[in-house]
Symmetry: C2
Subunit: 368 residues, 2 copies
Amino acid sequence: MIRPTPAIEAIPATVPFVGPEQLMRETGRSELLRLGANESAFGPSPKAVAAMTAELSRLSWYGDPESLDLRDALAVKHRCSPNQITIGSGIDDVMGLAVRAFVAPGATALTTRGTYPTFNYHVIGYGGRLLFAPYRDDGMLDLDAMLEIARRERPAIVYLANPDNPSGTFLTRDAIARFFEQLPRNSMFLLDEAYADFVEETDLLPPAFEDRIIRMRTFSKAYGMAGARIGYGLASEANVQVFQKIRLHYGINRNAQIGALASLQDEAFRNYVVRETAQARSDYYALARELALGYIESCTNFVCIDMGSAERATGIMNELLRRGVWIRKPGAPPLDGFVRVSAGTAEMRREFADAFRAVVAESPVEAR
Amino acid sequence: MIRPTPAIEAIPATVPFVGPEQLMRETGRSELLRLGANESAFGPSPKAVAAMTAELSRLSWYGDPESLDLRDALAVKHRCSPNQITIGSGIDDVMGLAVRAFVAPGATALTTRGTYPTFNYHVIGYGGRLLFAPYRDDGMLDLDAMLEIARRERPAIVYLANPDNPSGTFLTRDAIARFFEQLPRNSMFLLDEAYADFVEETDLLPPAFEDRIIRMRTFSKAYGMAGARIGYGLASEANVQVFQKIRLHYGINRNAQIGALASLQDEAFRNYVVRETAQARSDYYALARELALGYIESCTNFVCIDMGSAERATGIMNELLRRGVWIRKPGAPPLDGFVRVSAGTAEMRREFADAFRAVVAESPVEAR
């Protein structure tokens, strides 16, 4: 056969996220209680649905390759210029652009072991070398450890998610600002704010788009548009121009742009989702306490519950799947003894609680 | 500022396609007669619209990252295995994967000067070097010239579109098969079949997925889903596995998958679009004859009309835009004296004909 380029050949075959559709085929189920991918169980804004419905018959026209209207609206929201915004088909896309643009083959990129794996996927995919900081034992990102590695290794990119995935923890604006200031001047700070809509904007960095920071946002979480694939990067104009040279200009679904714009204009719906999500977290905390299990307080739409060991957490996850309940779990210590469950509707939470109680009861904690 | 990698810095700032939305802003118009991007004026299948409408409220769930149902349906259509199909957010996406996978930095890729420019965009973007064959004077791809260059330069990829864009011409299955067989064994044949739905499947290569050919299809043209961004590659299982290592697994809009699947099941609608498109071509031919202008017989949803010189073609295109009619024109000789107009509905064709007659009358042919 024709061989791919040496760089592509060198990439190991990847096991990406296994999607619930694949799991349904494997388990012969026609549906699952979907609490594994931190999707919004509260749906998209009805106003977004209405706007998209009205435009579906015009889906034969390409969407605006520059997303002019959406970028104008986002510029107002973020008090910046539309020229400081790159639209992508989800944060995954924007992240890929950032890695491709700033991580040369053989260069390093720093992340936390066990956090959002798609960053790693891109770094490996573009021939970079990953450096890992560990989580702290309390589930927080270890900024001191990251800084120490960053100073020593001078990575091309330093990545973190805040609020964090999979821990759900949140670092204050001051902590993030201090961290950013202490990074080596040649390290790009790639700040994944996928879950930012669940915290107050005033608790996040103010809009100041230096060349050495790229922030990423999405409509997939509080705005309930995960299936639409639309997210964006907030960056300096110079960096947006870099992305203009390599991005897929016609990559964004027309209706995703329309739905995202309508979602932005429905702040009441976002507030409703944020409130419901807070209630879901409380319910999960209460469930964990009832079962004498630890958990991590979360600022996101998911909660990590401590099962005591990676083996038990994996067993619980698999047994839940057997019963039609789909959750995931962190893959690396110290969080690998937890399971991670996404915020569901009240009914989904009850279903989850019933299954979880039963499965936990059948899975005694082993002597350590 | 932090510099991008040397490879990215070396990419010249690109002027990608200027979208009609940008042109509307520049000209202060709230709408344009859109005949510039070979979109389908006949819309998506009503069955696809119905299927997508029914699912919009579930857009908060990610689409299937493996597009299992859609790939199953496509496998039936193409008499192949789902493992020989890669779904992308349009052919542009699949094309980017092919270039990334098979064109190493500094390697060459062969295309025809003036054909679909996004292939060039990807080759430059991944550090490849473009080789160009000219069109023949009759607007056909020059397979002999391509073979000669391919044998001499041994490019990593040889790209062509059949039916071709922007000429609209079509090479027979036998001509394509012979061309493929004569290519150097280490050149990947990247065959863009975006407009294949306007010809008979029996006039195309049979489904045989060798490692050295990748065929690309889209739902953007006859299926009327350009705004959805969904297309696919037909390739060997080995090559699909290569794409699995680098593609954006969560890049495809959930509703695009649903609409594409429903479209496939509505062959009657596709046939209607193909018939209407043939009528549109006939109308454009008649219009050209009425105005004593040459044209190229097309097998696609657009027609190139000969304005005699690049200057006149550009002038006509710009004057049409001033009147709210958006078309495009080929950029390289020998086709740069043509304008290219997409198939519109009967009403759009009448509007175009009125504007075109007026503009042509005001733009006399200059003495050569």
